[in-house]
């Protein structure tokens, strides 16, 4: 089966610019996660969806970040006005509960540098 696909792989911005990240999860996975992974740190959850509904976005900086999953399949994460502190890798993962297990499958990530 195809894995989780993310694009672009890299993005370089000046502060104040906008950027969008796109994620295509594994077909049939109802849950989709966006994580931010600063260099040499573990992934930090930004937002996650079950189908098209946002389940938790409490860690998403709502003034500049937004995320949608309109049809419960692909998802877009947008940064409206990037800051240097947003420099990180943005990871998308999808999952589906089977047999009491909720295993996450990750995409390759988008590495963002804000200058």
């Amino acid at each position: 089966e195809a894995g989780v696909t993310q694009s672009p792989r890299y993005a370089v911005l000046q502060e104040g610019q906008a950027v969008s990240f796109w994620c295509d999860p594994i077909s049939g996975h109802d849950t989709l996660y966006w994580y931010q992974q600063p260099r040499d740190q573990g992934p930090q959850l930004l937002v996650y969806f079950r189908d098209e509904a946002v389940i938790d976005n409490s860690q998403l900086p709502s003034d500049r970040f937004s995320a949608v999953r309109p049809k419960g399949t692909n998802s877009t994460l947008k940064i409206q006005s990037a800051k240097q502190g947003d420099t990180a890798t943005y990871l998308c993962a999808s999952s589906f509960w089977v047999g009491g297990k909720n295993t996450l499958y990750f995409g390759a990530g988008t590495r963002l540098s804000v200058l």
């Binding site: 996660y33 740190q41 992934p43 930090q44 909720n102 996450l104 990530g109």
Partner: protein, 109 residues
């Protein structure tokens, strides 16, 4: 507050030595997973171990939920085992998957 803590932060081994990685957590969970990540690479699930001991090849994980800890043992380490090992768990109260900061493993020839 770091809800999932991993130790050591980094570990250097000679090839063929064994490694013991620890994960402790303060949240309620029954879903514990271990992931591996090469530098610049994607996270790959290694083991799913909500309780007891699970083995996959040279990897053995032991989880004691009552004591809120999980460990990952790597036997006979190889140079290709180098990378970052992360533990993750689902917070059953908040239904979200939380990661530790990882253990960076370097295996030298």
């Amino acid at each position: 507050e770091q809800q999932v803590q991993q130790s050591p932060a980094s570990l250097v081994l000679q090839e063929a030595e064994n490694a013991e990685l620890q994960c402790s957590f303060s949240i309620f969970t029954n879903q514990v997973q271990w992931f591996y990540q090469r530098p610049g690479g994607r996270l790959v699930s290694l083991l799913y171990n909500p309780s007891g001991t699970k083995q996959s090849g040279r990897l053995t994980s032991t989880t004691v939920i009552k004591e809120r800890r999980s460990s990952l043992h790597i036997s006979s380490s190889q140079i290709t085992d180098s990378g970052t090992y992360l533990c993750a768990m689902e917070d059953t109260n908040a239904y979200k998957v939380i990661f530790g900061k990882g253990t960076h493993l370097h295996v030298l020839p």
